[in-house]
């Protein structure tokens, strides 16, 4: 026994020493003070190969888990756009070959799959995502490998990255128009209800700042985790606070629980209407309750009368596995692939730096179903029309308000004096 335990001890010690030595030898990478490395230039060079007759692109959405119900639509419409572009001759004459990955509603999985798409599959660009959490997981990875990510969903703004293009609305294209609409409706008392994660928290911080300027009183603010459906006690607080309107930033299936609690408590669209920023044509019929008369703020609605919208709706209805209705996030995803095509053709190359340079040099446009959108090459967002829709009995939206022109993207709200400059500076510094 004693000889064995002695041998054991020496072996364990040897193992530990061996490990330490291996670590010290390996620790020859860049240190924090190393200026050359701090710029991120030490990352391996891109392995993207576009010399053949095809270009590889990555599609990344949650096909499983809680967000699958929303994200599968985005994934499907990306397939449709790829098929359309391939039928029209591809990008720079190269057919799109896509690699589909599942983010599984798990943010670390989004990070892992992004790394796989960029370094194993060597895709030229990645399209997809839905929740802001998934985008925040993808961001450091695309920045590290100098890849490209096209994000198609409206979000909370206050972000920009040389490696991300945002084709959904930023706050000044969705939240601020919604607030302007509420002001015009004579709303005095507003209640904020949201899911407990980055988008609703940030959106509401901005709403509170703007409400103070507009003279709208915020009479309450409640959050419920994304995966929880019980809104009973929060809705009781809404009833007690007697707001004129409810601003809803709840995402996903939690909306069903909210809508149920809302009608159970006796609230009605006629007296205490809801304005939502994540209930679209696809979600409205899935609420488990008639939601006629409630409002939503989006840039695209299926009911929009634009020259390109009828063809888009028709193609989507004919597409396999289609839900039959079109909505804002899927339209933004559709835009993202065409925008990439336009960018690459302007650059004459799939190279990330060349694409970014082309975005700065040219005014890239696309005749989207929501209208002719223009890319801002500096902040990587696109111009969009603002629309407020009111849900009718067939779960489509009647347009009740439209911005008089396309709204230029302003993710850091630089054109809005009520947004404190010192906070903006802190955010920009933290991002840099």
């Amino acid at each position: 026994m004693s000889t064995i335990s002695k041998r054991l001890r020496s072996l364990t010690a040897m193992g530990a020493i061996g490990t330490t030595v291996a670590l010290v030898l390996a620790g020859c990478g860049a240190r924090a003070g190393d200026e050359a490395a701090a710029g991120g230039t030490s990352a391996a060079p891109s392995c993207v190969d576009t010399s053949g007759s095809a270009v590889k692109l990555g599609f990344l959405n949650s096909l499983t888990g809680g967000m699958a119900i929303s994200e599968k639509t985005v994934s499907n419409v990306l397939h449709m756009a790829a098929d359309e572009i391939n039928a029209g001759g591809g990008i720079l004459g190269k057919k799109i070959e896509y690699v589909q990955e599942d983010g599984a509603t798990d943010w670390p999985t989004f990070a892992e799959k992004t790394e796989k798409l960029l370094t194993q599959d060597c895709v030229a660009a990645i399209f997809g995502g839905w929740t802001s959490s998934s985008r925040k997981a993808v961001k450091p990875v695309v920045e590290k490998h100098n890849g490209l990510f096209f994000y198609p969903v409206q979000y909370e703004g206050l972000e920009s990255s040389p490696n991300i293009y945002y084709t959904g609305a930023t706050t000044n294209q969705q939240i601020i128009p919604a607030m302007d609409f509420l002001k015009a409706q004579g709303v005095k008392r507003l209640f904020l209800a949201g899911s407990d994660y980055v988008f609703p928290r940030t959106a509401n911080a901005i709403i509170k700042l703007y409400a103070a300027k507009l003279g709208i009183e915020i009479v309450g603010e409640e959050y419920v985790p994304l995966d929880k459906d019980d809104w009973t006690s929060q809705v009781a607080k809404i009833v007690a606070a007697k707001p004129d309107f409810i601003f809803n930033t709840i995402n996903g299936s939690s909306n069903v629980g909210f809508v149920k609690a809302y009608y159970d408590a006796g609230l009605k669209a006629e007296t205490t209407p809801i304005i939502s920023v994540s209930i679209a044509e696809e979600e409205a019929p899935a609420m488990g309750h008639e939601v006629t008369g409630q409002y939503a703020s989006w840039n695209y609605f299926q009911s929009l009368k634009t020259p390109t919208n009828p063809k888009f709706i028709e193609s989507w209805k004919a597409y396999p596995n289609s839900s039959g209705v079109t909505s804002d996030p899927m339209e933004a995803a559709y835009i993202s692939l065409y925008l990439y095509k336009a960018l690459v053709e302007a650059a004459g190359s799939f190279d990330v730096d060349a694409v970014n340079a082309a975005a700065k040099k040219n005014a890239i446009t696309f005749d989207a179903p929501e209208g002719k959108v223009t890319l801002d090459g500096e902040n990587h967002h696109i111009s969009k029309p603002g629309h407020i829709g009111k849900i009718n009995s067939s779960n489509q939206f009647d347009i009740v308000w439209a911005s008089d022109k396309f709204i230029e993207p302003d993710p850091y709200l630089e054109g809005y004096d009520w947004f404190p400059a010192d906070i903006r500076k802190q955010l920009v510094d933290a991002a840099g």
């Binding site: 072996l11 499983t64 798990d106 450091p140 590290k144 980055v198 985790p225 933290a430």
Partner: protein, 370 residues
């Protein structure tokens, strides 16, 4: 010392097994794997470290620890807070500015600026917490399903707490975007290899540690406590102390696993520590063979690999495959895949008709006596 009538593998077999494993992980893997798969392997190593601890507590000690996510979180969030502060410098981390631009850094973040405090917290927090929890539970003789449910409930509670304190902990979105690791630039591929080697090295150290524990008098007592707690008590030992040590060691391993998970994966969220994640850790251990030396680690790595590769090729089907495998293993191979060799006829360990758990226990007692 007489030649023992051993039914288990001889000590040099286990040791050389660890040796081969060490060579494969520390020398071969960095040479043959791409950066992406090396990073993935590093992640599986983290799960394997936690699994080795579960093997000790559950496989040998009979305590079904269904909430290892709690201790995984202590290590992971300690590390993540330090790396977040290291990246932010003297500024307040970006996500906090986003939610409440004017509030200062929460008090409990301050000490994590210090690298020394962080390393100490990764070791001491789980030890203290598991110590208090284990003492309270084992002295009151809480065991079996009650113990399992209690630990599971803790994991759920902690995940919910983190989700609902978005400004303090990053909430559901988690903590991510780490630029530095104790002064090293994380984006540098050479440093990624270093981080992998630390994780793999820690896994080897953990394997050596439990190998030694299993062969010690303590290991003998632990198995005895698992199989006949009352008898151990009659013999004059306090089973609560034996279980407490195993529980604390397993908590420490889970915390180390969590701490290494953060620089390797680059993000930590409550989903990685909650009920589902804790159960997935158990699944790997059961799959590989909870009472064996290598079973838990290899099982955890296999489940991790399945998630990465099958989850890519067949996202909708992979969880069904995992579930099916789990059922098959529980029904037909209660001691996991590592008990497969002993089931082949003609080997030196013929005992397919003996009830599995006592058989293993007996075999291990024999081995320990060597």
């Amino acid at each position: 010392m007489t030649k023992p009538r051993t039914t288990g593998p001889k000590p040099w077999i286990s040791l050389s097994g660890i040796g081969v494993f060490a060579v494969l992980l520390l020398a071969v893997a960095p040479l043959v794997l791409t950066d992406h798969w090396l990073n993935n392997l590093g992640k599986y190593c983290c799960w394997a470290i936690a699994a080795v601890g579960i093997g000790l507590a559950w496989g040998r000690g009979g305590m079904l620890v269904m909430g290892q996510g709690v201790f995984f979180a202590l290590g992971a969030y300690s590390m993540a807070m330090h790396l977040t502060l290291e990246t932010a410098g003297d500024r307040i981390p970006g996500f906090m500015v986003l939610y409440d631009p004017l509030a200062p850094l929460p008090m409990f973040w301050e000490p994590f600026r210090s690298a020394g405090f962080t390393l100490l917290a990764i070791v001491l927090l789980p030890v203290v917490m598991a110590g208090i929890l284990g003492y309270a539970l084992f002295k009151r003789r809480v065991k079996g399903a009650y113990f399992a449910i209690l630990t599971q409930a803790l994991a759920v509670a902690l995940a919910t707490l983190i989700s609902s304190t978005i400004r303090e902990t990053g909430g559901d979105t988690g903590l991510s975007d780490f630029k530095y690791f104790f002064g090293f630039v994380l984006n540098d591929p050479a440093n990624k290899v270093m981080v992998f080697l630390i994780a793999a090295g820690l896994l080897i150290v953990c394997l050596l540690a439990v190998w030694q524990l299993y062969r010690s008098r303590f290991g003998e007592l632990l198995v005895a406590t698992r199989d006949a707690e009352e008898r151990v008590r009659f013999l004059g030992y306090d089973p609560a102390n034996v279980k407490l040590v195993a529980f604390v060691v397993s908590a420490l391993m889970a915390s180390i696993a969590g701490a290494m998970f953060v620089p390797i994966v680059g993000i930590i969220t409550p989903a990685e520590i909650g009920a589902a994640a804790s159960i997935l850790m158990i699944a790997g251990v059961a799959f590989g063979g909870r009472a064996s030396l290598f079973g838990p680690a290899l099982g955890a790595m296999a489940v991790g690999w399945g998630q990465s590769s099958l989850g890519s090729t067949w996202p909708e089907g992979w969880t069904y495959i995992l579930g099916l495998l789990f059922i098959v293993v529980i029904l037909f191979l209660p001691n996991g895949l590592s008990s497969l060799p002993s089931r082949f006829p003609g080997r030196t360990r013929p005992k397919p008709d003996v009830p599995p758990t006592p058989a293993i226990a007996a075999a291990e007692l024999e081995e320990v006596r060597a």
